[in-house]
């Protein structure tokens, strides 16, 4: 029997959840014995195989049209989709901007910051992704496993990965369930 395959990617997040993944330390070897790691944002292969993977992991929320595209691609190429971390599960810190209009947030980021000189302007190249309200991954794709936490503890990530690698659906409760 071939090992289950895992792919991951990050969207509107801070990469902290992937850092927390590395925090499982030498236990990553146990995960690799059980499963095969395919594409991740921190290895050479960047996209999940067209043939599909067993588990897709997404960190970060959906903040623009590109994030949405990546989420859809991951969803279409994986059997089990995992939303990893508070941004992917709830929208998280980037979702703070939702309390303002998009116009206000862009102006704040590109024109009003103290480090911006007079030529500051909001980028409008058609090549660029279109910013949207920040949403949880589950708002654009069906999510099978929610792993909240900012970031999720390494122990939680190890538990989730080892359960998935052994073909079980992880159930987060009691000590493993934390949102922050």
């Amino acid at each position: 029997m071939t090992k289950p395959t895992i792919s991951s990617d990050w969207l509107a997040g801070c990469a902290g959840c992937h850092m927390s993944l590395l925090d499982i330390d030498e236990r990553i070897l146990q995960v690799l014995e059980l499963a095969e790691l395919r594409s991740t944002p921190i290895t050479d292969l960047k996209e999940p195989d067209a043939a599909g993977v067993d588990v897709g992991v997404l960190e970060g929320g959906i903040s623009n049209s590109y994030n949405e595209e990546v989420a859809h691609k991951m969803r279409s190429r994986c059997k089990t989709l995992v939303a990893l971390g508070d941004c992917a599960v709830f929208g998280g810190v980037p979702a703070m901007r939702n309390f303002f209009t998009l116009e206000e947030t862009l102006r704040r980021a590109y024109i009003e910051t103290p480090s911006t000189d007079e030529s500051g302007k909001i980028p409008s190249d058609p090549e660029l992704a279109v910013p949207t309200k920040v949403r949880a991954v589950s708002d654009v794709a069906k999510v099978d496993v929610f792993v909240p936490g900012c970031p999720p503890d390494a122990d939680v990530i190890f538990y989730v990965l080892s359960e998935l690698a052994q073909g079980r659906k992880p159930e987060l409760k009691d000590g493993l369930l934390h949102w922050h």
Binding site: V93, S138, F146
Partner: protein, 619 residues
């Protein structure tokens, strides 16, 4: 008694008990958010829904009274689904992102409820409508974005404090918390008692001082008493790393029932004063640090010199300290003794009144409350809250006070005492039997009268007042009304100073030497001016001030939260304060300093107060 079954457990409870309280007795936990044991059931959050056999829909257990043979299920799939749904709706309504909230990680009842239901995510996304944040109060911040509209704060403000400042504006999901008719809470009728902060289940009302200073699980909780005034409120103090993080009212304390005022809850945490950390001795080139022993020897030398001295002590000193103080400095032609506040609360003791000493709870629950010489909006505020919260139920309030008294706005009748007190008492006596008077209208249906006595006239008038007050009590008794009396007594041990002979008036104007056992007390302007002219000033205090800067000897003492001691509260019950943090090295308690002074003078001191006070034993 009514027998009901909850999750298969049989329990017998009093008629009128709610299913939620019955479940508590049966040992079945039902999650709630709007419920609070000190507040009336409200039924606002719907988290406590349960399945009752025979009922068409799920029922809120917090407002549902038990009925005979009721069978309740609290853990069925239907109930669990409903709970998750209720929580999902609450989370979707406002900004409940935990990762940027102060109470996340154990102190938030909303988050804890979601964890208990095993919620890994929100099925509904928030709607991201921004609500206002009100940071106009010096002690706490109201963030409507974190509010779950449980109305605990609104209910506490009305039901417990009787202040009715907080309310809800708008309807449904647009509802938000307002002070008075809108406008910043800092400019409202809010008295900053902080009860709303203590009952808030989420991060919607947060205390500025304790915010981001650690979660409750990181703190140590110590129960002690407040020594800011004579009420002696019960406190629950949260400390971390030998630092006070937050002060909560102790719900279990009978005297204050969890209530506190700004002076007890918030002010001790405002760190705007300089602590005296070392003993100081004034020399030719100003004050220099010295050892505690040197300072004690200097003071002893002065006492032994036989020159006339005035010794003043704070009435917030413990019974132990008052006892030692009164033994070291015996009243004589050359020595004057007294308290810093100078208020002689002996008054009523020397003219005993014909009423039994009562409790704050009993007095506030009388049908008609009469205050004499008390401004409950300024001092002894917790007593004021207990009075105000009874008024909506029809309790009458008559105040014998200066009409400028801010509490007068709550009164049904104010009898002006700005010129003299006795005529106002006489007016009361006449009113009891005069059917045309406003006094008669207010007291005619009252079976019980609660008296709150505050600042009484000076020694010259006290006898006349005592006589007329007793006539008043007799007149009430004749008309079949019972009287309950409570006496507010200045500082924490204000009711005890007279027993130790410390209630005489002290004139420091002509004194050459003044020993000021100041502790934490602030000196009023008049006394400060007089003291500024004293050539030999000795300050035993907690905080440095203009006075300590010009003292001959300065000795540091501990703050109240660093000291243990006994205090008599307004109900004449002896209460013990427990130290919550440790004082810095070299900072002694006033008790230790007094004991050392006694030893240096070769006195055989004995700490004693039971006999001196003659405290009535209470059943």
């Amino acid at each position: 008694m009514v027998n009901i079954t909850i999750d298969g457990k049989q329990v017998s409870v009093a008629e009128g008990t709610t299913v939620l309280r019955a479940a508590e007795q049966a040992g079945v936990a039902i999650p709630t958010l709007c419920d609070h044991k000190e507040l009336a059931p409200y039924g606002g959050c719907r988290l406590c829904l349960v399945e009752v056999e025979g009922a068409r829909t799920l029922q809120p257990s917090c407002t549902l009274p038990v009925t005979p043979n009721m069978i309740v299920h609290t853990a069925t799939e239907k109930v669990k689904d409903a709970r998750k749904f209720v929580l999902s709706l609450i989370f979707s309504e406002r900004n409940h992102f935990c990762m940027y909230c102060q109470v996340s990680g154990g102190d938030c009842e909303l988050q804890n409820s979601a964890y208990a239901e095993g919620m890994t995510h929100w099925p509904l996304q928030p709607n991201y409508t921004p609500f206002s944040v009100d940071a106009s109060n010096p002690y706490f911040v109201i963030d409507n974005n974190r509010c779950i509209l449980c109305r605990r704060c609104v209910r506490a403000c009305g039901e417990l404090v009787g202040n009715f400042t907080l309310g809800i504006e708008e309807r449904g999901a647009n509802s938000y918390l307002v002070a008075d008719l809108g406008g910043p809470i800092g400019e409202s009728s809010c008295v900053s008692c902080g009860t709303c902060v203590q009952v808030c289940p989420t991060g919607a009302i947060i205390d500025r001082q304790s915010a981001y200073n650690g979660r409750e699980k990181d703190t140590t909780k110590v129960k002690t008493i407040c020594t800011r005034c004579s009420i002696g409120c019960g406190l629950e103090v949260l400390t971390r790393d030998n630092r006070v993080v937050r002060i909560d009212g102790d719900w279990d304390a009978e005297i204050n029932q969890g209530l506190l005022c700004a002076a007890g809850r918030f002010e001790p945490l405002i760190n705007d004063k300089d602590r005296i950390t070392t003993a100081l001795l004034a020399g030719k080139d100003g004050q220099k640090a010295c050892t505690v022993d040197t300072a004690l020897n200097e003071i002893t030398k002065q006492i032994k010199s036989g020159e006339s001295i005035a010794a003043l002590i704070t009435d917030s000193a413990s019974l132990e300290e008052l006892s030692l103080f009164s033994q070291i400095f015996s009243k004589s032609g050359k020595t004057q003794l007294g308290t810093i506040s100078g208020q002689g609360f002996a008054n009523m003791r020397s003219t005993p009144y014909h009423a039994e000493l009562s409790t704050l709870a009993e007095v506030s629950q009388a049908d008609c409350i009469i205050t004499i010489g008390a401004d409950l909006s300024r001092d002894h505020q917790v007593a004021g809250f207990m009075v105000k919260r009874q008024l909506p139920a029809g309790t009458k309030l008559i105040m014998l006070a200066d009409p400028k008294n801010a509490f007068a706005a709550n009164a049904d009748l104010v009898l002006d005492t700005s010129k003299a007190l006795v005529p106002a008492v006489k007016e009361l006596i006449q009113g009891i039997s005069d059917e045309t008077s406003s006094v008669y209208r207010l007291v005619k249906n009252a079976g019980s009268i609660g008296f709150i006595l505050g600042e009484l006239p000076n020694e010259a008038e006290i006898d006349a007042f005592g006589k007329s007050f007793n006539e008043l009590l007799d007149a009430l008794q004749k008309s079949g009304k019972s009287s309950r009396v409570i006496h507010l007594n200045g500082g924490a041990n204000g009711s005890s100073v007279s027993a130790f002979g410390l209630d005489g008036s002290v004139d420091v104007k002509d004194a050459k030497t003044v020993l000021l056992f100041q502790g934490e007390e602030t000196i009023d302007q008049k006394l400060a001016q007089q003291l500024a002219a004293i050539p030999n000033l000795f300050v035993i205090g907690t905080y440095s001030s203009a006075l300590s800067a010009r003292a001959k000897v300065v000795l540091p003492v501990r703050a109240w939260w660093e000291t243990a001691g006994n205090y008599v509260n307004i109900e004449c019950t002896v209460q013990q304060s427990t130290p919550v943090t440790q004082a810095a090295d070299g900072v002694s308690s006033m008790q230790e300093i007094l004991a050392a002074l006694g030893k240096l003078q070769g006195l055989d001191l004995k700490i004693e107060w039971q006999n001196t006070l003659g405290i009535p034993s209470r059943p």
